[in-house]
């Protein structure tokens, strides 16, 4: 019985020796904190092992022998390897809300000032895609508000096109009083609902 066990062990060893594992390309996975400080989570699965990373610059490395190693890296270490890649990330999508005078497609004085921020953001992007969505408060009927919300969006669209953005890159749509920012009863004047959302990416 003992001899059989030895034989088995020898066979096992021989099987291992005859098939050495081919080294794999080393891999590296790192969670990077967002600009606003938010730290995300990634889950890396390899060779039946599952590792969760959720710390700033927390990393998982896969070694040439296939083994996994967890480590906390520094910002500089990550930068050294990934700077050329991170630099190529497109600009973060941004969203702006501008408000209108009651029953008109004219911006409030405060939003006219805010408009410069929108223009500045848009100008920074080499090839912006913009969607403008208009909204109204609940004063008036559905059809009236659909028309008014679209007029508001179109107004912004014209301004952006006037700024030099190619017309086909700027979309405009009206949602009427269907998507209130502040829920109200019907026929209620509410300044915060008279708005456009501008989504830029």
């Amino acid at each position: 019985m003992k001899r059989l066990g030895l034989l088995f062990a020898a066979l096992l060893l021989a099987a291992c020796a005859s098939e050495p594992r081919k080294p794999v390309a080393p891999e590296l996975f790192v969670v990077v904190p967002a600009k606003d400080g938010h730290i995300g989570t990634i889950v890396v699965e390899s060779n039946g092992q599952k590792k969760v990373i959720h710390s700033a610059f927390g990393s998982e490395r896969i070694k040439p022998d296939g083994g996994m190693v967890s480590a906390n890296m520094t910002r500089d270490q990550v930068h050294e390897i990934f700077a050329d890649t991170v630099d190529a990330l497109p600009g973060r999508p941004a969203s702006f809300t501008l408000y209108f005078l009651e029953g008109k497609d004219e911006l409030t004085p405060a939003s006219k000032v805010e408009l410069d921020k929108v223009f500045a953001d848009v100008k920074k992007r080499p090839l912006p895609d913009i969607m403008v969505i208009g909204h109204t408060d609940t004063v008036g009927g559905l059809a009236y508000n659909d028309k008014l919300s679209l007029a508001r969006a179109e107004r912004l669209r014209e301004m952006l096109v006037g700024l030099g953005i190619p017309a086909e890159r700027v979309g405009a749509a009206g949602r009427g009083k269907r998507e209130l920012l502040v829920p109200t009863d019907d026929n209620m004047s509410e300044a915060r609902n008279r708005r456009v959302e501008i989504n830029v990416r």
Binding site: A25, E27, F29, V30, A34, S46, T85, V86, A88, G91
Partner: protein, 150 residues
């Protein structure tokens, strides 16, 4: 006068369907960047549409950045191959899936709306692992050159 405008509308509708297949757009292209679609390969230009099953290949001096329809951002560094295996996104429900493979090289990404809606809707495969993305920013390297060094 009526006929040309109808024609124009038809053309626009046509352009619309062509655009519908695009799941993203090249926003950054530096150095040698190629997009392989089926059997054809072409140099990536800023503004070019990206479709599911496209493969991004970069040379020694290449890097590319892509924005996807769910606002996911992905960039690929030099000497890299990144394949988009599957992509779908519902703009109403924000449900979707994004599966890509980094065959070699480096990738940086910021997850978008679909991951916010359902964690791990985005997955990145590498030769040795599968990564599920619960959010938000991360980087990945497959160091093939290190594997080839003796």
């Amino acid at each position: 006068m009526k006929t040309p405008s109808i024609l124009m509308a038809a053309l626009l509708a046509c352009a619309g369907t062509a655009l519908a297949a695009d799941i993203g757009q090249v926003k950054v292209s530096k150095g040698d960047v190629q997009i392989q679609r089926g059997a054809t390969k072409q140099s990536a230009k800023v503004g070019m549409g990206i479709q599911a099953s496209d493969v991004v290949l970069t040379g020694t001096d290449g890097a590319a950045g892509i924005t996807f329809t769910d606002n996911s951002l992905v960039s690929v560094g030099p000497n890299s191959i990144f394949a988009i295996d599957r992509y779908s996104f519902d703009t109403t429900t924000h449900a979707g899936e994004f599966e890509g493979s980094l065959k070699k090289g480096k990738l940086a990404a910021v997850s978008g709306k679909m991951v916010k809606q359902s964690p791990e809707a985005m997955k990145i495969r590498t030769p040795s692992a599968v990564m599920g993305v619960r959010g938000t920013e991360f980087v990945v390297q497959v160091d093939e050159q290190a594997a080839q060094r003796p």
